[in-house]
């Protein structure tokens, strides 16, 4: 049976249902309900909730829990997400599964607590050091918060990698009807690579670091990293296609912005404009395969996102090859479907200016 839930609460509940038994993090708007919910419910369901003294402590405790095989999660937003970047890089080097939620807000520095899509670069391009890559899921509804958090835990273990769930203030704060999945029990001892205590057997050794640190396995390191990321890049791409069959102007949008773009595509179709949309569900890997199809017939891409200068638009240009790319970063307010429609018309009529 469906149930009305706020995005943040639904995400937290879905994490418990997915077998998450450890959470450590620090409150910050607009994701605080995740902590509030888990503080209340996680201990009752056999898990541990820690409100840490800082985001740094949160991500590092998650690292410890992940090393023992537990399904572990932390969440933050804006400046708090910045503080987690070093930990994400370390999780990548140790090849530890964990889920990091960023409920995006708007602006640089402290910015503002209102909804926004300010962290695309940071989540997708490696906000920490060293050039790692992390699968990033971008939900666009409360139901997808539930579905993708479940998927995030599975992907994290299947590829032994941290996974980022890139939600935003609107999806976190709004309430919709959701269908929750069945509860899963997770056995923390089922993998051979986990730390199991002093007397247990550790077939892969007891070191939680990459192999160049203790083993000096320099020649194996680069090929291993390359193979790891190219496998994820090939296997994890997900996207949604809307009215793409004959689309000439293809909107590209994710998360909350994709909701208004769907409305804009409807408006455009009503007026006879051949508009469609690619909604990336994974932001890394970016859905290259979707663009390989649309590059053959699209006359233009229009990237719509909620930040000041456009961030994802650079990936649209990268994967859109020689197709002209237009950008509509709607800034501090959500894009207006009527304005998107005007841009679509402008592209068809040749009055809009391309950015790439």
């Amino acid at each position: 049976m469906k149930k009305l839930m706020k995005g943040n609460n639904a995400l937290a509940e879905a994490a418990i249902l997915a077998g998450c038994r450890f959470f450590a993090g620090y409150p910050i708007t607009p994701q605080t309900e995740i902590l509030e919910y888990l503080a209340k419910h996680l201990p009752k369901r056999g898990g541990h909730f820690v409100q840490t003294e800082s985001e740094l402590a949160g991500i590092n405790m998650v690292m410890g829990a992940a090393a023992t095989g537990f399904r572990a999660m932390t969440s933050s937003a804006g400046p708090g997400f910045s503080l987690k970047q070093e930990g994400i890089s370390y999780l990548c080097s140790m090849e530890l599964p964990a889920v990091i939620v960023d409920v995006m807000r708007y602006g640089i520095g402290l910015g503002n607590i209102v909804l926004g899509q300010g962290d695309y670069f940071q989540a997708v391009k490696g906000g920490g050091h060293g050039g790692y890559k992390v699968p990033v899921y971008a939900p666009s509804s409360v139901q997808e918060n539930v579905d993708y958090i479940t998927m995030a835990f599975d992907t994290a273990e299947a590829y032994r990698t941290p996974v980022i769930l890139l939600s935003d203030g609107a999806i976190g704060q709004m309430a919709e009807s959701v269908e929750l999945p069945e509860a899963k029990e997770h056995d923390p001892d089922k993998y051979d690579w986990t730390l199991k205590g002093r007397d247990a057997a550790h077939p892969t050794g007891r070191k939680m670091t990459d192999r160049i640190y203790y083993d000096f396995a320099y020649s194996e390191y680069d090929p291993h990293i390359r193979e790891r990321y190219s496998k994820m890049e090939e296997e994890l791409q997900m996207w949604e296609e809307i009215e793409l069959a004959d689309a000439e102007v293809v909107l590209v949008s994710y998360g909350i912005s994709s909701r208004v773009c769907k409305e804009a595509v409807k408006l455009a179709r009503k007026k006879g404009w051949k508009a469609g949309m690619i909604r990336p569900i994974t932001l890394w890997p970016f859905p290259r395969k979707a663009f390989e199809k649309t590059n053959k017939m699209a006359k233009a891409y229009l990237s719509v996102e909620m930040n000041a200068c456009g961030q994802m638009v650079e990936d649209v240009a990268l994967y859109g090859r020689s197709v002209p790319v237009y950008s509509y970063p709607s800034g501090r307010v959500i894009a207006d479907p009527e304005v998107i429609l005007q841009k679509i018309e402008g592209i068809f009529q040749g009055t809009e200016k391309e950015v790439f």
């Binding site: 607590i113 919709e176 009807s177």
Partner: protein
């Protein structure tokens, strides 16, 4: 058909809950629904609002441009949202607090003395549910019984308040139907 509602008032008047009660009514009865609160640097005593969109089909955007039903509990909220109400739309206002009401010839106006009603019924925190009763009286998206089940379901952990809630709901409903 898409119906769009804004609930607005002072923080602490239960305005977000009123919206959630309507959203829950929609959810319980199988409609597509989105509830969205305003949030920012709000504080107790400041203004708060939330929007509710209800439809039979998937709703793409959670944001509202034209309001079908505006439920307001203080003057600043009325001033802020009145220009967004569509022609032929409905404004339900808390006349215990909003004493100066502008002319609105193209709109349906419903005045609910929620403060007096709640005082009389000794349920001083029930003004939001009283306003919802008035909405039930004029918005036929749901039957009266459906509204009641929606409210009851939302407060299922607090059955002791049901009777009091229903009394103020009924009084609000009669503000529309009793005339």
């Amino acid at each position: 058909m898409l119906n769009q509602f804004i609930f607005a008032g002072f923080g602490g008047q239960g305005i977000l809950t009123a919206g959630l009660l309507l959203a829950n009514t929609a959810s319980v009865h199988g409609k597509e629904v989105i509830w969205m609160p305003s949030y920012g640097s709000e504080m107790r005593g400041g203004t708060a609002n939330c929007s509710v969109k209800i439809d039979d089909e998937m709703i793409s955007s959670p944001f509202i441009k034209k309001i079908d039903y505006l439920i307001v509990m203080n003057k600043p909220s009325l001033d802020k949202f009145l220009p967004q109400v569509r022609e032929g739309g409905t404004v339900i206002l808390n006349s215990s607090i909003i004493t100066e009401v502008p002319e609105m010839p193209k709109l349906q106006k419903i005045a609910v003395p929620a403060g007096e009603i709640c005082e009389k019924l000794k349920n001083e925190r029930g003004a939001n549910i009283c306003m919802l009763g008035a909405l039930a009286g004029c918005c036929e998206l749901f039957t009266r019984e459906e509204y009641e089940t929606g409210i009851k379901d939302y407060f299922s952990a607090k059955p002791q308040f049901h009777e009091g809630n229903m009394a103020v709901f009924e009084a609000g409903y009669q503000c529309v139907k009793g005339e």
